[in-house]
């Protein structure tokens, strides 16, 4: 009689153990799913931000030639005098930009301007970033030519 009762008790305890286990598994699954959703939303926001910074840089009234209404025409003289501090004051920290005239290697300074075609802003050694690049027009203020370049804008993770 006592053994049969103990066996019944054990059955119930095992049953409740399995129920609790199932609940715990469901809780973990839902929590994991929630964390995954939050993570992908964060990534989506970072991508959105990087894309916004790129478009914003290429159309910025601080860097574009006046009078070109159809999108961006970056002016080389403006790029040469721009520094990382200016960009941080305008759009905040944690990102970088690079503008490169095709086939050009010389980085622009006040001394070698206008015989140069690469501008780098706020670049660090951090290898983790999201970056986008697009072709842009670059207006050469001194010669009044227009050249094609690549604008890369990235956001450090």
């Amino acid at each position: 009689m006592l053994r049969s009762g103990q066996a019944h008790l054990m059955e119930y305890i095992l049953l409740s153990f399995f129920i609790v286990m199932v609940i715990v598994i469901i809780v973990f699954f839902l929590a994991g799913w929630q964390i995954g959703t939050t993570g992908s939303r964060k990534q989506l926001l970072q991508q959105q931000r990087a894309a916004f910074l790129m478009k914003s840089f290429s159309n910025s009234p601080f860097l574009n030639k006046e009078g070109f209404k159809e999108g961006g025409m970056l002016e080389d003289s403006k790029l040469t005098v721009l520094d990382c501090g200016d960009l941080e004051a305008l759009v905040g920290r944690g990102w970088f930009a690079e503008v490169k005239v095709l086939d050009s290697t010389a980085e622009c300074t006040k001394d070698n301007y206008p015989r140069c075609g690469v501008w780098k802003f706020c670049k660090t050694d951090n290898p983790e970033f999201i970056a986008y690049d697009i072709p842009v027009n670059i207006y050469r203020t001194v010669t009044k030519d227009v050249e094609i370049g690549i604008l890369t804008v990235g956001f450090y993770e």
């Binding site: 009762g5 409740s16 926001l45 478009k55 914003s56 006046e66 305008l90 001194v142």
Partner: protein, 348 residues
């Protein structure tokens, strides 16, 4: 008679059932909250993206928030919601909460630089009340209107009317459905030329009055110009606040009209900060180009650098509520524009 085992079964069953029920209820409740918050966050992310896109492309759009109270209010630069605050920085935005909003980019152009900003507003009907026939009143009306959004290409409208003619104690308005550009190009010049005179308007349900007058009258929102450029805004509005504010550009008036003192302070801080950076950049650019362009450009470049130096100094240290400071700021902006035009004509 219940056996011990049956009693155990009953108590055990009740405990396990209660445990499972509590867990499920807890989860259901927290998931309802999480679901609502997620939905609000999704709306906010989409709204921010829409504002970003309009800012970089300049193409206006409608945005249907579709939820009554997602955006509680706007404390620049943050959209404040029940879930969290979402910053619109670095975009200067005049945001007025509403269910359906129209998003536009507008700009204050000073030739060598332009201050671009976003206007995101719900459906609105604005009545201009120009009092008197003086040129400065009508010129001010035209200047202000330019900085309201043009909603010809969006579903959510900001429409304008002009008033009032007081006949027998009843306010009579001149239509109420003009788009911004039609008002500037046709209606205001015609009314001015014909010498129409208007009376102060009382309140009208669903409309916002913008009175422009040479001497203060009894009105909720009135612009009192000193000259064609500057003046004071008198606000006496329970929703947007009370007080007297100096304006140096029409942007200040628009900021006060859309968002009261908070937006006025935010707009001034942002505009003067950006103007300071723009002056500094333009000054450095002019110094760089001075030795590399046509020698005849040296003198205008030097003058340009000098004026931009003054401009940066006032933008950094001037008080936007001080009439003398802002008069000096406007004088330097005018000078810089003149020199810039001169340089363009010389091919510098």
């Amino acid at each position: 008679m219940i056996s011990v085992l049956q009693l155990f079964k009953i108590i055990f069953g009740v405990i396990i059932s209660a445990f499972v029920l509590i867990i499920i209820l807890n989860f259901a409740l927290s998931y309802t909250n999480v679901g609502e918050s997620s939905r609000d966050v999704e709306v906010l992310i989409s709204l921010k993206k829409a504002i970003d896109d309009v800012y970089v492309t300049g193409i206006p759009t409608d945005f249907d928030i579709n939820l009554e109270d997602v955006v509680g209010f706007y404390r620049p630069p943050n959209l404040v919601t029940s879930v969290s605050a979402v910053s619109l920085d670095p975009i200067p935005a005049f945001f007025v909460p509403g269910k359906e909003i129209s998003i536009h980019r507008n700009e204050y152009d000073i030739g060598w630089w332009k201050f671009q900003f976003i206007e995101a507003v719900p459906e609105m009907k604005i009545i201009f009340v120009p009092l008197g026939t003086k040129e400065v009143v009508w010129k001010t009306a035209e200047n202000i209107t330019k900085y309201f959004p043009s909603t010809e290409n969006t579903k959510t409208k900001v429409l304008f009317g002009v008033g009032c003619n007081d006949t027998g104690g009843k306010n009579v308005f001149f239509f109420l459905n003009w788009e911004r550009d039609y008002l500037i190009k046709t209606v205001l010049p015609w009314l001015h030329e014909e010498g129409y005179e208007f009376d102060p308007c009382g309140r009208k349900e669903g409309y916002r009055m913008l009175t422009i007058t040479e001497t203060p009258v009894d009105a909720d929102f009135q612009v009192v110009p000193i000259d064609g450029e500057m003046g004071y805004v008198y606000m006496n509005d329970t929703q947007h606040g009370q007080g007297t504010y100096l304006y140096k550009t029409p942007l200040d008036i628009i900021a006060l009209f859309f968002g009261g003192e908070d937006m006025y302070e935010y707009e001034n801080g942002k505009f003067l900060n950006d103007l300071s950076i723009a002056s500094d950049l333009a000054s450095r650019e002019a110094s760089l180009l001075r030795g590399k362009m046509n020698p005849s450009c040296d003198t205008p470049y030097s003058r340009f650098v000098q004026v931009l130096g003054h401009l940066k100094n006032i933008a950094d240290n001037g008080d936007y509520r001080n009439e003398d400071d802002m008069r000096e700021l406007n004088r330097n902006i005018r000078n810089s524009v003149e020199i810039y035009k001169e340089m363009e004509e010389m091919g510098c």
